[in-house]
């Protein structure tokens, strides 16, 4: 067992974990952070994407011990004070989700994408989200949502 200390959605946890425990299983099964789902076993689908120290990570590709000392944000911690994050709002406004299973990862990846590229082209959005699979939407409304979130953010900062 290894000792870790992580902050997840603003709460600090001290834990002992098996060295082989995946971060996503730590989040889901130890902390009850079940908002982050698991969609595959080969790191293709991106459903489990979270932010580790502000950067998007597929939490099935990281061990819990590797997250020692980090700040993690999951989909459950993205909205602040009951206020949806602009990307969450844009997903709702643009019908960018159907079953919603890929949505947490898709939103976390989109937030990260916009941090790196605040005004992406549609093509840049499509390539930026290449690591996140959705089987319901055909992606068109996801691209719309990310574009709208970018435009709204630009208005706010302008």
């Amino acid at each position: 067992m290894a000792k870790i200390e992580v902050t997840v959605d603003g709460v600090r946890y001290h834990d002992e974990v098996e060295p082989r425990l995946l971060l996503v299983h730590y989040l889901r099964e130890r902390l009850g952070k079940v908002g982050t789902p698991i969609g595959c076993d080969t790191s293709n689908c991106g459903a489990c994407t979270v932010h580790v120290d502000g950067v998007s990570v597929k939490s099935c590709t990281m061990l819990a011990v590797q997250a020692d000392g980090t700040q993690i944000t999951t989909i459950e911690g993205l909205a602040q004070n009951g206020q949806l994050h602009p990307v969450q709002q844009a997903f709702h406004d643009n019908h960018a989700l159907q079953c919603g299973f890929c949505t947490p990862g898709m939103i976390m990846a989109s937030v990260d994408l916009l941090q790196h590229n605040p005004s992406p082209s549609d093509e840049e959005i499509r390539h930026g989200l290449e690591g996140n699979l959705c089987r319901c939407t055909g992606y068109q409304n996801i691209v719309r949502a990310v574009r709208q979130a970018a435009e709204k953010s630009a208005e706010v900062t302008a």
């Binding site: 595959c40 996140n132 319901c136």
Partner: protein
């Protein structure tokens, strides 16, 4: 658009059902793109996936699966697993015995269908890679997975058979005791095909055949399957949570399979992350989990890994289509003959045999013809069972007819749009009895096609295509056409009965008027992404005249929504949604009696509009439906003899299928040097009748297109000759990402259905059904002038390149390596790509 829709809907409703609406209400919700009520939880991670469930004493189950396709099982020894840390129990089939029962197939399509036993855990033989052989139960999922390695199974290899034509030789038998790999032969004849063919030959017409291969697909809903079974502390009672599309059917089937009284099983489908048909089933793991929980008296959870699911969850398609068309020289179809071979896989799952049969009624599509012959042969192979995958039989049929229609146009030198015009049912000819025995209620193929051609810029793109050909441009352009229809909204129970389907096709709804004036709608449909909470709220809000926000919808739990037939086959709106509307009308009828009593008026003088009852000629005498609801709850002053409730139920058995249609046009650029096809433009004009929520409809079309395009360009479940699944993970099986798909142009025409009071048609599968032939048709069209007649799906760059480079310059339509194409014009014709 919305205002036109409202007006049209109201006019149609008033005409067809004058009692439905007393007068138009400007505050209608139907037809408006209201944002979904479902979203808030889903975008904040407050979800209820089956795998999220934690219970006191919860055990985790892992399945030992066969690594070989076909083998005799000489011995299964689970004792090694029992010594592993955290392991609670381990079982083989022998350990659980008869308790497991056999998995159900509810669609015996013929009386003599070969129906082998399908044990949840294999007994004497395994017949596909991934078949369950033993189960390990442990305190956590890691321990359970670890311990599967300690289970010893002695497999004695038997030969595999993956190819249907090979299997039909019966040299390698999947089920030796059955003596054949042929599951069934299902025939249908409309008119006399031989006569139609003879006429074509006698009159100098054309007869030719094509072979199309529907590759095997993996549904790959984003949420893997999962099941949790919780035994209740008292008695033989269980709550089963499952990532399923069919909690009601699953409850019945688990009761029958495990011999547990049905009333002692409650099935809950919590949040379900997509299905596309793959969760329309009764799976081994659901039965095993129930039996394990029953035996050990503790709750148990199983969640498949993605790679496990690729082997153990049903696949789709996998058919060989031999199709022959007979037509006159001016392009009128005389007859169509289809000889289909459908791969069942190793066993028959819930509706496996019926999937290709559903397609039988769709090969004739929107076209008039004198004769139609259909033969379907079901075939066992040593592969994962097939079953319903989005479209289920209809995409396959649509692909074959739309492809061969374009080939007929090539052969006759007629523009493919013009050829379709000469054959399709005209809008004034509805209702139309087809050669396949269905009656299409309504449609307007002309309008949808005109709109699509306009959005697409068809003539301009044809000109560009010619220019690129003329200058021998390395990037060639092809145009693909799909003027599809489909049958959905499953379905009239009597028709299902005539097809030997094991259940009816009705759907139930209940409306509960709460004392506070709020409304609960209970539906038998089970959404897993379709947005029923929102759409049913719109329907109920309009019929009851209450705010959209005041309506909640209850589903997916056999205790709280006890009556239902669930969600598949684009049936939810046209059966379940219409049932909500009918139940709401009954509520209004009951409430009118109470209102008349309270207002001291004759019932016939009480009008209802926008949620308010008023008395004709007395503008001040009015009461709202919410006030009536409270008054009924109090029951202090009701009409004599009236039950104190205005709640109402409706169970709708639809009078017909639903026949959405549309015209999809696709332009594909093919780089002839690399073979890479790229979609340049995709236009989809769908006619699904009246629309409840255009936002949801557009989303359904987008998602459907993505899956149909994926079949055309990307996806294929590949088995090697030993029947190992080569594309066994998401690394190898290409579920397309955002970067792999184009921007779609979508639009609608609206021809209301005449068989339900909302005028609606199904939309869930339309995009998938329509798009595959449009895309492949475009790929082939781009290189047709090189003599390429067919490119097998998915049309990968390699296959396209080979087709170009292996074909002759004689325009004779030779088969390219890696492609399957045979036949050719049997009467003289213009060859190659003449326009």
């Amino acid at each position: 658009m919305t205002e036109e829709l409202d007006a049209g809907l109201i006019a149609e409703q008033v005409e067809e059902h004058p009692e439905a609406i007393d007068q138009p209400d400007p505050t209608r919700h139907i037809g408006r793109p209201l944002k979904r009520k479902e979203d808030r939880r889903l975008i904040t991670g407050r979800t209820r996936w089956t795998d999220n469930i934690q219970l006191p004493g919860l055990m985790h189950m892992a399945i030992v699966r066969s690594p070989v396709a076909h083998a005799r099982i000489n011995r299964v020894d689970v004792s090694g697993a029992l010594d592993r840390p955290g392991v609670i129990a381990a079982f083989s089939a022998a350990d659980l015995g008869d308790a497991l029962g056999t998995l159900p197939c509810a669609w015996p399509v013929t009386a003599d269908m070969v129906h082998p036993d399908h044990h949840p855990l294999a007994t004497d033989e395994v017949r596909h890679v991934g078949e369950a052989v033993a189960v390990v139960v442990a305190t956590d999922r890691y321990a359970a997975a670890d311990a599967t390695e300690a289970v010893e199974v002695d497999y004695e290899p038997l030969p595999a058979v993956t190819d249907m034509e090979e299997a039909l030789k019966d040299e390698v038998l999947v089920h030796a005791d059955k003596g054949t790999n042929k599951t069934y032969l299902w025939p249908f004849d409309g008119g006399d095909y031989d006569a139609a063919r003879a006429q074509a030959e006698a009159e100098g017409g054309i007869v030719f055949k094509r072979r199309y291969i529907q590759q095997r697909l993996i549904p790959a809903a984003m949420e893997p399957r999962a099941v949790v079974v919780e035994p209740l502390t008292e008695g033989d009672e269980y709550t089963v949570y499952s990532a399923t599309q069919i909690p009601h059917i699953l409850r019945l089937m688990l009761a029958l399979t495990c011999d547990i009284p049905e009333q002692q099983i409650r099935v809950i489908a919590p949040d379900v992350g997509g299905g596309f048909g793959s969760k329309l089933n009764v799976y081994a793991e659901e039965v095993i989990a129930l039996v394990v929980a029953r035996k050990l008296g503790r709750p148990v959870k199983w969640t498949e890994s993605r790679s496990e699911g690729f082997q153990a969850t049903i696949h789709g398609r996998d058919q060989i289509q031999d199709i022959e068309i007979a037509a006159t020289r001016d392009g009128r179809i005389l007859g169509l003959s289809v000889d289909l071979k459908a791969d069942m896989g190793a066993y028959l799952q819930l509706v496996t045999p019926g999937i290709p049969v559903l397609g039988a009624f769709m090969y004739n599509a929107i076209y008039k013809m004198d004769a139609y012959r259909f033969r379907c042969t079901g075939v066992f192979t040593t592969k994962t069972p097939t079953d319903a995958y989005r479209g289920a039989g209809r995409p396959e049929a649509t692909y074959a007819i739309e492809r061969i229609m374009t080939d007929l146009a090539y052969e006759l030198g007629i523009d493919p749009i013009e050829l379709r015009r000469r054959n399709w049912i005209k809008h004034e000819e509805f209702p139309y009895a087809t050669i396949a025995g269905l009656t299409y209620d309504s449609g307007n193929y002309e309008a949808a096609t005109e709109r699509a051609l306009e959005l697409f810029g068809y003539d301009e793109l044809r000109r560009e295509q010619q220019e690129r050909r003329d200058r021998n441009d390395p990037v060639q352009l092809g145009l693909g056409i799909s003027t599809f229809t489909e049958m959905c909204g499953l379905a009239p129970s009597r028709v299902l009965g005539s097809l030997s389907y094991g259940a009816g096709g009705w759907e139930a709804a209940s409306i509960r008027m709460l004392p506070s004036g709020k409304v609960e709608v209970v539906t038998g449909t089970t959404p897993h992404g379709q947005g029923h909470l929102t759409a049913w709220s719109q329907i109920a809000a309009d019929a009851l005249g209450v705010p959209f926000e005041d309506v909640n919808v209850i589903f997916g739990d056999t205790q709280s929504s006890p009556v239902g037939m669930d969600t598949y086959g684009s049936r939810s709106l046209v059966v379940g949604g219409v049932a909500v509307h009918l139940a709401a009308r009954k509520v209004v009828d009951k409430a009118r009696k109470v209102a008349a009593h309270l207002l001291e008026a004759a019932e016939g003088d009480v009008e209802f509009s926008g949620g308010t009852f008023s008395v004709k000629g007395s503008p001040d005498a009015k009461t709202t439906i919410q006030e009536v609801s409270l008054a009924t709850f109090a029951a202090h002053n009701l009409p004599d003899g009236m039950e104190p409730t205005i709640n109402a139920d409706a169970v709708l058995d639809p009078e017909n299928f639903s026949f959405p249609h549309g015209t999809h046009l696709c332009a594909v650029e093919v780089d002839t040097e690399t073979g890479r096809p790229t979609i340049r433009k995709y236009v989809a004009v769908d006619d699904i009748g009246n629309v409840i929520n255009p936002l949801i409809v557009e989303g359904q079309v987008h998602g459907g297109l993505a899956q149909g395009i994926a079949q055309a360009l990307y996806e294929e479940a590949v088995y090697d000759s030993d029947a190992n699944l080569v594309t066994g993970t998401m690394v190898d099986y290409l579920v397309p990402s955002a970067a792999d798909l184009p921007e779609f142009t979508t639009d609608r025409t609206e021809t209301p259905s005449t068989t339900n009071p909302l005028g609606v048609k199904g939309v869930g599968e339309a995009g998938t059904i329509a798009s595959t032939p449009a895309v492949v048709g475009a790929v082939v069209d781009a290189v047709h002038h090189f003599g390429v007649q067919e490119i097998r799906m998915p049309t990968t760059p390699e296959r396209v390149w080979r087709a170009i480079n292996d074909s002759g310059s004689d325009g004779g339509g030779r088969a390219a390596e890696g492609t399957i194409a045979y036949g050719g014009p049997q009467t003289s014709t213009t060859a190659g790509g003449a326009e």
